[in-house]
Symmetry: C2
Subunit: 154 residues, 2 copies
């Protein structure tokens, strides 16, 4: 998996949060995931299936960050992760993957998206189970961290 494949996901998350919540995250360096370092409190997960490849994506947020994203969008901050928050994480997951799908489609990489699943639970960890390399992209902010992980078999 080369950088052409990674950047569309990274850019897409930055765009979505800038547009929806007027929020700028700071992207760290994408790297190969060796163990389950991405710990978070709410994650959106989605499967991808294409003619040449299949894979999975997750976007994980720490609780204070996703609550601040809600606050920026709605002017109202829930005290904890509720159904409105998980709906938002599902939407972000769809939008980020859809944005990357468009960018990658332009380059000839095609895939279809499944529907998202959102997991809530303090400090859960995620393991993408596939033979492909796992890439983790960390993002930092004043309110906490987020992580995108992608994995494609090919």
């Amino acid at each position: 998996m080369n950088v052409n494949f990674i950047n569309p996901f990274l850019e897409s998350l930055l765009n979505v949060l800038q547009t929806m919540a007027n929020m700028s995250l700071t992207p760290g360096k994408p790297n190969l995931k060796k163990d389950n370092l991405a710990k978070g409190d709410v994650s959106g997960l989605i499967g991808m299936v294409g003619p040449q490849t299949k894979g999975s994506l997750s976007i994980t947020f720490e609780e204070p960050l996703i609550l601040e994203i809600m606050n920026s969008m709605l002017g109202e901050k829930p005290s904890s992760i509720n159904e409105e928050v998980t709906d938002l994480v599902g939407e972000i997951t769809n939008m980020v993957t859809g944005g990357a799908k468009n960018l990658l489609g332009d380059k000839g990489y095609e895939f279809e998206m499944a529907t998202p699943i959102v997991v809530s639970g303090k400090g859960h960890t995620i393991a993408h189970k596939s033979d492909g390399k796992k890439i983790i992209m960390p993002f930092t902010s004043n309110w906490g961290n987020a992580y995108i992980e992608i994995c494609f078999e090919s």
Copy 2:
């Protein structure tokens, strides 16, 4: 989503655990999921994409049950959920979905599977974010509960 669509997943989980771990779970009544009742400690999740539909599946285990499944298969019981356990949950997720895919393919319902993701975290909850109906299938055993949830847009 009719019962023809649900039973293959239910049967497939029972088959897989009987074959791999010589373990019989007791299936409860499948029902429409109204809120996030399926709480567990480790879950396998997978996306599905077909020409007429797309969706997602999750299989959630309580910790004592999945550790007993490891014990039945390997004669050795880890003290907690480790990477061997999450690998096993990923495999079970693939096998159950693959088994159901074969049964459903015979009936003319076709879909491709993405790659599985495994989530670990005490008492996490799962929300399938799609317009389709969510079906939850509970399973009980002497060691704890398991849940399959499936959701298809159509």
